[in-house]
């Protein structure tokens, strides 16, 4: 029994290795780590450490600069069954014109939509520099055959998506079929072509920090350009400790391979104060090289308005109301 399993694992590894060497050149070393022995996470330690980042005091000009950076890192998102063309157009307009009454604001980094809306979104953002990200691979559950997931991804890329947000097969991952997950990510990466690939781990379904760490390692070695916490459809979504676990994984990966990977916490970050805490955590974990929207994003729909309200408050000295900011 044991012999069969290890043979299967071995086989799986050979297959994936071949896959990698044929299709991609991501690996600087030729050996993949054994994902079963990804580093274990000290739960108490990581939570204590994450809490420490919330104690930094960021005021005045620093706060204003930080908030502008947050705005520039947002992936403005609408992923509802009820999304219409009007809604997507409106959101793309908002992405370019966050608050015209405040001159000199940056745009958001990207808009994030379903594949069917990519074409429209691409037209709507025009030449503003705002990227279009599309979720794919049967978002949010990922419960579809491989062929469907690949088609889904190709469709989004052909429609003009600059970035693809895929979900991993959490069921397979939790069942220990790491090779399946690895191969799937690698296959989608291939289908992405030029588009950057963000891999959504859906940490709310992974149960433990150990598994989050393992999934992060698998995603990065399989070719992810970004790792992302959540779909936003499952609670809990992004939390500071879980993001810290992933940032640490990115750091280790960078030390081993020299390759930078981006990070995108998504879901549940709706207040500017919290967003600033995330930036502090990013800066103190990965450093200044990651402090831009090439390497860090916030997946959020309501964060932008809260940041805008804080910015206007800093300028006018008066606390703001959502009544005076466009919904989307």
């Amino acid at each position: 029994m044991r012999a069969t399993i290890s043979v299967a694992l071995l086989l799986g590894k050979i297959v994936t290795l071949m896959f990698i060497s044929n299709d991609m050149n991501v690996m600087s070393s030729n050996t993949l780590p054994d994902f079963r022995i990804s580093p274990r996470i000290d739960q108490v330690g990581i939570e204590e450490r994450a809490k420490k980042f919330t104690t930094r005091s960021i005021k005045k000009e620093t706060k204003v600069e930080g908030l502008k950076m947050v705005l520039n890192m947002i992936d403005l998102t609408t992923l509802e069954g009820k999304d219409s063309e009007g809604k997507v157009k409106q959101m793309c307009y908002k992405a370019r014109h966050l608050h015209d009454a405040y001159p000199g604001l940056p745009t958001v980094a990207a808009v994030c939509v379903y594949p069917s809306m990519v074409k429209l979104a691409k037209q709507s953002v025009g030449d503003s520099g705002v990227k279009v990200a599309s979720v794919s691979t049967a978002f949010p559950s990922g419960q579809a055959p491989m062929s469907v997931k690949i088609d889904d991804t190709r469709f989004a890329v052909e429609s003009g998506a600059d970035e693809i947000d895929m979900v991993i097969s959490r069921g397979k991952f939790l069942a220990g079929e790491y090779n399946f997950v690895f191969d799937e990510i690698a296959a989608i990466k291939e289908a992405c072509g030029e588009a950057r690939l963000k891999v959504i781990l859906e940490t709310g379904e992974l149960v433990t920090y150990d598994k989050v760490r393992r999934a992060s390692d698998i995603a990065m070695y399989a070719g992810a350009d970004f790792i992302k916490t959540s779909t936003g459809k499952i609670q809990p979504a992004a939390t500071m400790p879980v993001t810290l676990v992933m940032l640490e994984a990115i750091k280790d990966f960078y030390y081993k391979t020299g390759k930078m990977i981006g990070m995108k916490p998504a879901g549940g970050i709706s207040k500017s104060k919290l967003a600033l805490h995330y930036l502090v955590m990013l800066n103190e974990t990965l450093g200044a090289d990651w402090m831009n929207n090439q390497w860090f994003r916030f997946g959020a729909s309501s964060l932008a308005n809260d940041v805008l309200m804080q910015l206007v408050k800093e300028r006018s000295g008066v606390y703001q109301s959502a009544d005076y900011f466009s919904v989307d």
Binding site: V318, Y319, Q320, S321, A322, D323, Y324
Partner: protein, 320 residues
């Protein structure tokens, strides 16, 4: 200064010692004193600023340590009030009436506690009882108005086109009020009741010199099915908070009841930022009949007019 404040704190908290029989032996029991905290979003937090002042009576006796609310406490209260406003306005009018009636019932049940507190704050027994009675009656009065003021203030308007044109009052939203300073309970109730009757939510700063009843009244509200955030009660200095009340963009109306022209002017200037309603009740005698009226409800309502297209109304011979 710091030491003397601490000493005062100890003095104000100095418990009275009662003698109680316990198993036949004489035992000393320490009286449990109430900590007067704030009431924000259905909870009783201390002020985040950690500041307090000592409430005293006319003789200078120390009654309690009371929170000096900060701008941040007020902001938190605005967030709570804004969050609760939609749900409160959406409640059936008669349900709001039932809840106001419930506040009155709870107040009735704790009348002796309020009489005690009022007497501590320089009222005579008769005055205290009158004030509590009037407060309860006022709540019943507004409970009754909950599903009636709409009819009184609505209208069907004559228009020359094929439209059914009507106007109805709608709550203005979040109200920030500074309660009358010269009494502890009645003024507070007089400001809160019409505001919440009309579907608004309110943040109210209690009397600075007579703050005791405010927090006890918060306990009454908290046990009366009033959703958290509908009524938020702060204690502290009007001079410090009036500007904040008037400037906050997420506040839709400000209520001020004193004859202080400087503060009035400041409020009016700051309120112009988002054209919030400014209600100055400086000459209202809350103890008289003039202290209760449906027009206090109307003060915090917006009139919404609807033009509803219809077939030619003249053809039926009817006229509006």
């Amino acid at each position: 200064m710091a030491t003397s404040t601490i000493k005062k704190k100890t003095a104000a908290k100095a418990p009275k010692v009662e003698e109680v029989q316990s198993n036949g032996a004489q035992a000393q029991r320490l009286e449990v004193l109430k900590t007067y905290k704030l009431y924000i979003g259905g909870q009783f937090p201390r002020t985040e600023s950690g500041r307090y002042y000592v409430a005293t009576n006319r003789k200078g006796e120390q009654l309690a340590n009371v929170c000096t609310s900060s701008r941040k406490d007020f902001r938190d209260a605005v967030i709570a009030a804004r969050g609760a406003q939609k749900g409160w306005a959406a409640k059936a009018a008669n349900n709001r009436g039932q809840i106001l009636y419930r506040i009155a019932e709870m107040l009735e049940g704790r009348r002796s506690q309020f009489v005690d507190e009022l007497m501590k704050q320089d009222s005579t027994k008769a005055q205290a009882e009158t004030e509590v009675n009037l407060s309860i009656d006022k709540l019943i009065y507004y409970a009754g108005w909950c599903d009636k003021y709409q009819q009184l203030f609505s209208s069907v308007n004559p228009v020359a086109s094929s439209h059914f044109n009507f106007s109805v009052p709608e709550p203005t939203g979040v109200i920030a009020a500074i309660a009358p300073q010269n009494n502890s309970l009645l003024g507070l109730v007089s400001v809160i009741a019409p505001a919440i009757t009309g579907g608004n939510t309110i943040i109210v700063l209690a009397s600075e010199s007579k703050p005791l009843c405010a927090i006890t009244f918060a306990e009454v509200i908290n046990s009366s099915d009033v959703p958290g955030g509908v009524v938020n009660i702060l204690t502290g200095k009007p001079s410090e908070l009036a500007t904040q009340f008037a400037a906050h963009m997420d506040v839709n109306a400000v209520v001020f009841c004193e004859n202080d022209e400087l503060i009035q002017k400041d409020i009016q200037e700051k309120a112009s930022l988002n054209v919030k309603r400014v209600l100055l009740y400086n000459d209202v005698d809350w103890f008289s009949d003039k202290g209760e009226s449906p027009y206090f409800i109307l003060d915090t309502q917006e009139i919404k007019t609807t033009w509803h297209p219809i077939e030619n109304i003249g053809s039926g011979g009817g006229k509006y």
